[in-house]
Amino acid sequence: MRADGAHELSLAVDGLQCGACVWLIESVLAREPIVLQGRVNMTTRRLRLVWRGATEQAGTLVGLIERLGYRLIPFDPASLSAAEEETGRTLLRALAVAGFAAVNVMLMSIGIWAGEVGGLLHDMGPATRDLLHWVSALIAMPAIAYAGRPFFASAAAALRHGRTNMDVPISVGVILVTGMSLVQTMQGGAHTYFDSAITLLFFLLIGRFLDHRARGQARATAEQMLALRVADVAVLQADGSTRRRNQHSVAPDDRIIVGLGERIGVDGVVERGTSTLDASLVTGESLPVQAMPGTQVFAGTLNLGAALTVRAVATGSATLLAECVRLIEAAEARRSRFVVLADRVARRYAPAVHLAALLTFLWWFFIAGASAGEALLIACAVLIITCPCALALAVPVVQVIATSGLFRMGVLLKSATALERLDDVDTIVFDKTGTLTEPNLTLVRGSDFDEQALRVAASLAASSRHPLARSLLAAAGPVAAAEGVVEFPGEGLRAGDVWLGRNPSWPGLTRPSGADRVCVDGRVKPGHDDREGPELWLARPNHAPVRFKFEETLREDAAATVSRLRERGLEIHLLSGDRAASVARIATALGIDDWHAECSPVQKVAAIEALVSAGRTVLMVGDGLNDSPSLAAATVSASPATAADVSQTVADVVFQGSRLGPVAIVLATARRARTVMRQNLALSIGYNMLMVPLAVAGLVTPWLAAAAMSSSSLLVMANSFRLHGRRT
């Protein structure tokens, strides 16, 4: 509700493909008289809707768009990285100011240098030079004060904690040089470095802005994917009717109806109904488990059978989610803080540079007999020359290029340091269910059935939302749906006298045998799942019942990726929460010798931490809620985009698509990026080695400093772009 009586709503749009979609949505909204503004942002895939009239009109408007085939999910724009966007805007403003000032100061400086070199046109009088110095000072100083804030703030924060980072030498250099140049200007001296100081900030801000944008984009996309998955749940009202509500607004003790094929939206306890549940995303268990009144269920579990009534419990300390969150926190606290390459260099570089400048000053003042002003001037030249412009660009520019390259391939690098941590990886630990295998079960091709039976079964399955029915349909290819199909939730489908269900006969003929509902004293008997996998039966008159078996399948490129990783000398482990039989089958198929089955989240964390403390750098790839603590414990972690929300939030890398290949790509990119980073650092340090003796000897003039600094920055940037060219 806005002040002028209009309402405003922000919605995330799912299914937005191209400009035509934007046009379609906007023109449909424009035809509605009550809509004041309906504008789609294509970059962030969001729709901003402003309308006049009742709040309830929102439903009508959203309905219009959803009829076009787009899904709309409301979100709170304030909660979604508002701070991030503000930082980006601040950086861009600072960049604009620094750019403006740099260009104008450089204009003055070129005039001064031309005059200095001996009067290319006319000799420049000291009065003119002073005037140009003053104008430079008046432009540069406010600009430095404004554009330098991001660096000064970061340097101050680092110093307060007794550390140094790259921003410390930058800030000290810029402030000292500006102050010294101001003194020179007031004394009518010849050497001012306003141009160098402001150009330095301009270059650094470019690096920082690009860095922020590339990472912000990856993070925003990751957030968006999670936001799109927030589903509403059907809450049972006191009068027996149901209302759809956002899963986050469900209160404890609310009753929730979970239909067939729906994911359970909240943690809770089953109150009514018996069904089978697919908990692969939660526990890593690949076979469906039984649920009956009293069974505890977790958010993210898929209901494969009949509708269940679930009583929501508070997200208290008893739930699996809460336990995982606790384990994540503990694992993160134990994990040693990774020190970024640039900071490691800065830690040694900053004191060395400041010491060199100090020694230069002392030598010129006490031994060479220069005046205090002259000695300070030379010391400042040393600072300018060593100001780590190229050094500060060396790492971020590479990161930007690598991040945006991976982004285009559907790999989201969420953490700034992930790229560097990935390079050292020598051990990869995979989770099985949903990571090495497809999230959905697939039909086992074999001698059990013929094509004709499959087509009949698929024609029945076409009208069901059950995951097994869908897998069957996918295996059969396009089939015309049978008519008059009746679905018996949790049992199967019937069309006339053809039956497709989990038992060889339909419930109308004989009661279900209860063969796979082994219950003792109301509890699921252990060992009920010694079947090989879930199955469906097709029963037709005059035919023997036909069995369709389903099993989990490897991602299509899992074997290729694993062997490629092994060829690179990486050690591959498999840690799964699933039963030993399924894990052994997958491990054998992939040739992984080192596998563990039936691991609890705690055991997974322990296994990873044992590897880490043995000196290995571990990449954990997992998707389930039960993997999330071990993702946090590993040196670096990755999740497929189908992973549980918590896992995606913890993971450093999220990859989209149905292939495992991105894991290999991301490692290769990290390795190349690290090489280019090292080259960049070597280049900029090499340049310093060359120029510092000149500066110490007092031979560096302002124009030489400005030229050397800019060229080294450009050289480092050019070298970084080689990464782009070599990308596969």
């Binding site: 191209c18 400009g19 934007v22 046009w23 906007e26 023109s27 424009a30 789609v40 942002n41 294509m42 970059t43 962030t44 805007r89 861009l92 403003r93 604009a96 100011v97 403006f100 260009v103 104008n104 204009l107 003055m108 009088g125 003119t128 005037l131 104008v135 432009i139």
Partner: protein
């Protein structure tokens, strides 16, 4: 050489004008959807 004062003044005013326009465009949200803007040129206006 007094002409240099006018020239410096003129260059600063022009440069400052450019900066002001950029800051205005930033504030008015013209950089928020670069991808969409490229496509919007293809839409036909209704009226």
């Amino acid at each position: 050489m007094n002409v240099i004062l006018y020239l410096i003044g003129a260059s600063l005013i022009l440069g400052g004008g450019g900066l002001a326009v950029f800051l205005w465009s930033l504030r008015s949200g013209q950089y928020e959807d670069l991808e969409g803007a490229a496509n919007r040129i293809l839409f036909d206006d209704e009226d």
